[in-house]
């Protein structure tokens, strides 16, 4: 399709190059430098989609991210929903279509790269318009480390949209010189296409850089598509400009109705005329620039409709010289047209009253209701806003430490003022950082500003159409109208936050950039209160939408969370292990043989450990080296049992509790020397228990001479388990006398294997005769294979965590965090024997004496045996009991407790479970019931130790 609305020359697009794109199935052309919106307008197309709930045609209403109307779905090069036609840069092969408010996520994985960079600066300047460039130059010339970020494809800000002059030359010449000068400063980072979308504490600012989309197919594959910049700035200068806002009137949503400034942008920046016949409706002088520029470009400007009684005498004169009719004291009360505006309905307006109107034909209606400073980043940083009644807008209302606002974002009205203010703010920031400004700090001369006629603050034109505001759109994207605000206020809502949520105004992709202040103004009018009292809704990041893919960056897939693997991981993979995640660890769960499911594999592995020999990779076990003259004192204070009496060479099981007396971890402790212990924790508790020990040692007992450090990854641990384990370990470590008398249960011995230090410990988490083998991970595979070779005659069987769990549960050994939940004491677990009566105090002791902790009806750990000898009770199942008459109590049926662990046992030849049951130990021998799939399964309550309760097997 041709581009009949492209001007013969001018604009910033590369007219020598043509790109082809498809919109709504139709082929179009444009130029590099175009946005999707400007290229569509060049073809004469305004309508993008229909609205979300009313289905009304909607078009391009602004020229950048404030556009409430032009949502598109991009299909090629990669599906992406909810983008704005005004911010999508044109690239060859782009395929897109308009969206009625809701998009569709890609159904295929995004193959693009996304990444993030941290950057630290003295001064971060957001916005490369006149004020931002002045600030950046001032800071750069002073030698400061500077970052300048701007969301457009090139620097210049408002200068890109106009015909301003600086130093008697086109202002963009100065922009180009400023950019070149910044590039010469080695400490300056200058990014275009980078939107600062979040401003946080202490100069932390997030920006999204769009790096490749505009390059189309030519984009280098190695470049990340988008990059999140994490700036930490000692000083932030916000020079984000201002958003024009419309005036609300009936049927103000038709395609062809756009902000006056946007039309000027399309003309000067893109070389595109928004239409052939224009009506301009304004409350201030700025829209006259659009009227005059469009007139000069050949657009027939039918009328400038100025709501101010006197209009602007000076601008009126300019218009009359150009032959443009100015209707002062008049407003647009409505429009005609369906898919495009065809007429503006214009009527006299005085003292808030609308007179009899007439229709003026037009194909584009330009509207300006004034300018809202883009205070988002300031407000996000919790800066307070002040309502400026003359501007009819909210401006920064206080000074913040380390963040200042300049230029039109601060309400500065003209070019000369913006340049001077940018420099002033930068100098103040430098001064606060004790950086001297440069001697030569010249900025270009701007023309003497002309004082404009005072603007009129007009939020809405009274609705004379009979629709009572129901077609007077405040938020076009949400189809929310003046009538909706009236309904909210009529429902008694007073807070602007409530009005927002009731009407949904400001909740779309544009977050109310054009509708927010209007809503405050209209709500204030309806309530009869000052706008200052209504205030604005809270500005929250992100300033513009950011894709989750960009926020995720490289932290996705395998890089989302670290995977920890043991030194034997490759061996496990080769052996066909099925892995499970234990925290960040990958642990073998079981090793299925061909044709085996988990149940069969685990029964086989369990049987091997109980009748022959099994071997486990227990390397993930937490290990803490506790050293110092007071190491034993610290452990005595943290464990419920006595550790100071442990002999060097021996091992003791211990339990740790919080101050509330509840179990937080358990494990064994090896005394390595008088002043040195190796504390073993659960896999999941390793980091937490080290933190716990550090906290007490640092904050309560800094007098203790003790140091704790993690050695989890310095040792691999292989439990060799079962009646034949002594044969295996004895064969591999011949220097060690493994006889029971020489190497008794709960002792450890150091030895070497080919000169490599190895530690052996008689610790059992299965009840079987067992030896734990500890060695440096470098030698893990070699030692593991020696053990396997030595075990081959006995059918040594590697087993995983599932078998480990079954074996320990058969012995009633709890897993802290599975069989406990933070409300369980050692006594509840039947481990009163591990609680010292001798020690005067330890963490948790005082809580054991609390009345509640003595309650015999506390939940206690017991075993459960399903009477049918078949059902494996689901973990987490509730436990109930029948009344004496054999009936269930009426609902709600009291719950006695729940199943915490449940397995099939090879040793018992039946399923069993562990459970926390109210008064459980007093119920041993009773039958209770567990609901499973709608039926009640009778189960017998037993002691928690189901296999080898007399402990006969541990010595082999």
């Amino acid at each position: 399709m041709t581009s009949p609305f492209r001007t013969p020359q001018g604009g910033r697009v590369d007219r020598a190059t043509t790109v082809e794109f498809t919109f709504d199935g139709q082929a179009f052309t444009g130029h590099p430098g175009d946005t999707l919106a400007s290229a569509l307008l060049a073809a004469g197309r305004h309508q993008i989609a229909t609205s979300i709930s009313l289905g009304r045609p909607r078009g391009i209403a602004a020229a950048w991210a404030e556009d409430p109307g032009g949502l598109v779905q991009v299909e090629e090069p990669f599906p992406e929903p909810m983008l704005l036609a005004t911010t999508v840069e044109l690239a060859d092969g782009l395929v897109a279509h308009g969206l009625p408010g809701q998009g569709r996520l890609a159904e295929i994985p995004d193959s693009a790269r996304y990444d993030a960079v941290h950057h630290h600066v003295d001064v971060l300047v957001v916005g490369a318009g006149p004020a931002g460039l002045a600030a950046a130059l001032t800071a750069a010339r002073a030698g400061a480390r500077v970052a300048l970020v701007d969301e457009q494809s090139e620097a210049g800000g408002s200068l890109l949209a106009g015909t301003e002059r600086l130093d008697d030359a086109p202002a963009l010449q100065w922009v180009a010189a400023a950019v070149a000068e910044l590039a010469d400063h080695p400490e300056v980072l200058h990014l275009q296409r980078a939107t600062a979308f979040g401003s946080y504490d202490d100069g932390f600012v997030l920006a999204l850089e769009r790096r490749t989309d505009h390059l189309g197919a030519a984009a280098p594959r190695h470049l990340s598509r988008q990059r999140v910049w994490r700036f930490r700035a000692r000083s932030v200068v916000v020079a984000t400009g201002a958003h024009e806002r419309p005036v609300v009137f009936a049927d103000n949503d038709r395609p062809g109705i756009m902000l006056a400034g946007a039309a000027r942008t399309f003309l000067h920046r893109y070389g595109v005329l928004p239409g052939r016949e224009a009506v301009v409706f304004t409350t201030n002088d700025s829209a006259y620039d659009s009227a005059l520029d469009l007139h000069r470009a050949g657009v027939r400007v039918q009328a400038v409709v100025d709501a101010r009684p006197e209009g602007s005498p000076r601008r009126r004169e300019e218009c009359e010289r150009a032959g443009i009719r100015v209707l002062a004291g008049a407003v647009v009360t409505g429009t005609r047209g369906v898919e495009r505006v065809t007429h503006a309905l214009v009527a006299p307006f005085a003292d808030g009253e609308v007179g009899a109107g007439s229709a003026i034909a037009c194909d584009v209606l330009l509207v300006s209701g004034g300018w809202n400073p883009a205070v988002h980043l300031f407000s996000q940083a919790r800066g307070r806003l002040r309502y400026d009644a003359a501007l009819g807008a909210f401006v920064p209302g206080e000074e913040l430490d380390g963040l200042s606002v300049t230029g039109s974002a601060a309400g500065v009205p003209d070019l000369a003022g913006c340049l001077a203010d940018g420099q002033r703010v930068a100098r103040a920031a430098l001064s606060a950082l004790a950086i001297a400004p440069a001697a030569d700090d010249r900025l270009p001369a701007a023309p003497e500003p002309v004082v404009p006629s005072a603007p009129l603050v007009l939020w809405r034109v009274p609705d004379t159409s009979g629709a009572e505001g129901s077609t007077s759109f405040v938020d076009l994207q949400r189809d929310a109208t003046v009538a909706d605000i009236a309904r909210a206020v009529g429902a008694g809502l007073r807070s602007i936050e409530h009005v927002k949520r009731y009407t949904t105004i400001g909740t779309a992709h544009d977050q109310g950039k054009t509708s927010g202040v209007l809503t405050s103004g209209i709500t204030a009018e309806l309530l009869g209160v000052p706008v200052q009292d209504t205030g604005t809704t809270t500005f929250r990041p992100p300033y513009t939408p950011v894709a989750f893919a960009a926020l995720a960056g490289r932290d996705r897939g395998r890089l989302f969370d670290p995977e920890r693997v043991t030194a034997l991981h490759d061996w496990h993979v080769t052996a066909g292990a099925v892995f499970e995640d234990v925290g960040q660890w990958k642990r073998p769960r079981y090793y299925p043989r061909p044709g085996e499911d988990m149940e069969a594999a685990v029964l086989r592995e369990c049987a091997a450990a109980r009748t022959g020999v099994g071997i486990l990779d227990g390397s993930t076990l937490g290990k803490i080296d506790v050293q110092g003259p007071d190491a034993a004192v610290l452990l005595d204070r943290l464990y419920t049992n006595l550790m100071s009496s442990l002999k060097v060479g021996s091992v003791r099981y211990g339990v740790m509790c919080g101050v509330d007396g509840m179990v937080i971890d358990d494990g064994t402790v090896l005394r390595l020397a008088e002043d040195r212990f190796l504390v073993l924790t659960t896999t999941g508790g390793a980091a937490k228990i080290l933190d716990w020990m550090e906290e007490w040692a640092q904050t309560e007992w800094p007098d203790l001479r003790v140091h704790c450090t993690s050695v989890t990854e310095q040792w691999v641990t292989f439990p060799v388990v079962g009646p034949r384990s002594r044969d295996v370990v004895g064969a591999v470590f011949p220097q060690v006398d493994v006889a029971n008398e020489a190497f008794p249960f709960m002792t450890w011995r150091d030895t070497t294997l080919d000169g490599v230090p190895v530690r052996l410990a008689r610790i059992s988490f299965s009840g079987e005769l067992a030896f734990e083998v500890y060695v440096n991970p470098w030698y893990a595979v070699a030692v593991w294979q020696r053990l396997l070779e030595a075990g081959r005659p006995y059918g040594i069987t590697p087993y995983g965590t599932e078998t480990m769990h079954v074996l320990r549960a058969e012995k009633g050994y709890p897993i802290i965090g599975q069989d406990t939940d933070g409300t369980v004491t050692p006594q509840d677990l039947g481990m009163g024997w591990a609680v010292s009566k001798k020690k005067p105090d330890f963490v948790g002791k005082r809580s054991f004496a609390r009345v509640e902790n003595q309650n015999p009806l506390r939940k206690q750990l017991v075993g459960l045996l399903p009477v049918d000898r078949r059902t494996v009770l689901p973990e987490g199942s509730q436990i109930v009991e029948f009344r004496a008459d054999g009936q269930l109590p009426p609902p709600p049926v009291p719950m006695l407790g729940h199943v915490t662990s449940s397995y099939r046992s090879a040793a018992l030849a039946r399923p069993f479970a562990l459970a926390l049951v109210k008064g459980g130990r007093s119920r041993i021998g009773d039958t209770v019931h567990v609901p499973v799939n709608g039926t009640l399964v009778p189960v017998e309550v037993t002691g928690s130790v189901l296999v080898d309760p007399e402990g006969a097997r541990r010595d082999g």
Binding site: D202, F204, V659, D691, E700, K845, R846, S847, A849, R850
Partner: protein, 103 residues
């Protein structure tokens, strides 16, 4: 994201730190001598003021040292950090509120 000034490492990102609750709540000298209620106050009860609060912080992803800070719970602002062996802040310091606190 705030910067928190670790007394040992200087200003670091907030994500490197863990919060440790109210500072200056010492472990009782003689827990056995306390009533259940007194013990429960040590275990469970903490102040929750609006305004300045003396708190414990741990530079958990850095030097792993604990330290104390006076922080304004209404503005999140760290007024100062101090070492564990520095004296407890005076009530007058904690009573002083910045202007934002009243908001």
């Amino acid at each position: 994201m705030q910067l928190i000034a670790c007394p040992w490492c200087g200003p670091r990102e907030e994500v490197e730190f863990h919060y440790g609750g109210q500072a200056h709540v010492p472990y009782p000298d003689d827990p056995g001598g306390l009533s259940d209620e007194e013990w429960a106050h040590y275990v469970f009860y903490r102040d929750n003021p609006r305004g300045r609060f003396a708190e414990r912080w741990n530079h958990s992803a850095g030097c792993r040292r604990w330290f104390n800070a006076v922080r304004d719970t209404a503005t999140y602002r760290f007024e100062r950090v101090y070492r564990l062996d520095d004296p407890k802040p005076l009530a007058t310091e904690l009573a002083t509120s910045r202007r934002n606190t009243a908001r």
